[in-house]
């Protein structure tokens, strides 16, 4: 029988490439804004040299725009760095709410391209689990895609972490969905990657049809 890790590895590389490409597009956008802001400052200076007037408020606005984009770029690079380091160790302890924030930031642009706003809701008490962080990120992206493309979203697609009732792990709850089947795992029939990811993570998926939420159970720890 094929090991789950062998099943998901080729697509895992594709996922890593997809996320990296999305990040690079976002960086290109921030660079473009800085390029045009700096270019406009040069244009205005050239006009001033020819006797035109410079509006100090405009200079301030453009400088502020550059500063904002530097901050945005720094955030993108920090997230990219965290994402890249997910593959460093096969198992690691994560704080679930913090992890969901990272997933939301990394996937936000791709979700927006598909027409959805992605948000990570703040959790209560810190909720730590030991898991395979790279594969968890990959599975969550699969569920985000399922939510957008199949279930449909109403406003923002939200993710939150909460302790699983009775302990033993964490629930990742997706809300803001239009419809949720009772047994969403059946959607993975024929999808070996998703099934492999669920198996690798010891995860279980179920739907709460009345509340229109999709719930992913993740165990507190894993056999390493």
């Amino acid at each position: 029988m094929t090991e789950p890790v062998n099943t998901v590895a080729p697509d895992g590389l594709k996922f890593f490439g997809q996320m990296s490409a999305s990040i690079s597009h976002e960086l290109k956008n921030t660079l473009s804004i800085m390029n045009e802001s700096a270019g406009l400052l040069v244009d205005l200076s050239a006009m001033a040299e020819k006797g035109g007037e410079i509006d100090p408020a405009k200079i301030k606005r453009l400088s502020g725009m550059v500063q904002q984009q530097i901050k945005r770029t720094d955030d993108i690079i920090r997230n990219m760095n965290r994402f890249s380091h997910l593959v460093d160790e096969p198992f690691r302890q994560i704080e679930t709410a913090d992890f969901l924030r990272l997933v939301a930031q990394i996937c936000r642009r791709l979700a927006a391209s598909a027409g959805a706003r992605l948000e990570a809701e703040e959790g209560g008490q810190p909720l730590n689990i030991v898991t395979r962080p790279f594969y968890l990120h990959y599975l969550l992206w699969g569920l985000i895609q399922f939510s957008i493309n199949t279930a449909g979203t109403t406003g923002a697609l939200k993710m939150r972490a909460e302790p699983a009732p009775g302990g033993g792990g964490a629930y990742i709850v997706f809300s803001g969905l239009e419809t949720v089947p009772d047994n969403p795992e059946q959607l993975f029939s024929g999808k070996n990657t998703e099934k492999g990811l669920m198996s690798l993570l010891g995860a279980a998926l179920h739907g709460n049809t009345p509340e229109k939420t999709l719930i992913l159970f993740l165990p507190e720890t894993m056999d390493q």
């Binding site: 690079s24 956008n29 473009s32 045009e36 406009l40 027409g115």
Partner: protein, 124 residues
Amino acid sequence: MKPIQVLLVDDEEELVSTLAERLEIRGINAEWATSADAACEKVSERKYDVAILDVKLPCISGFDLQRKMAQIAPEVHFMFMTGHGSPGGFTGKNTEADLYDCLIKPVDIEVLVEKIRNAIRRNG
């Protein structure tokens, strides 16, 4: 001579607003839109010579938007902007994309102006 009318479409407002201002300084009348709906509304309201679309817009690709806009205003000449690393990232694969001028972000304003003027010359 009538100034060239350009419409810039990208969901990054700071980018299109600043780029529009720089084109205005160079004698090109530029307006902008940050969504597909706003872009379609603008081309249905007034005449543009050139529309420059981002390849990746929320909910719709620049190429799909181009088809919608061309139905409303077939006389518009279209160009694309992309955050891809090189034009080969999307041209050469899509015969439709290969028909258009594609600019890589960050855009060189002088190259952009030249492409706009060339497009107007070509279209008469």
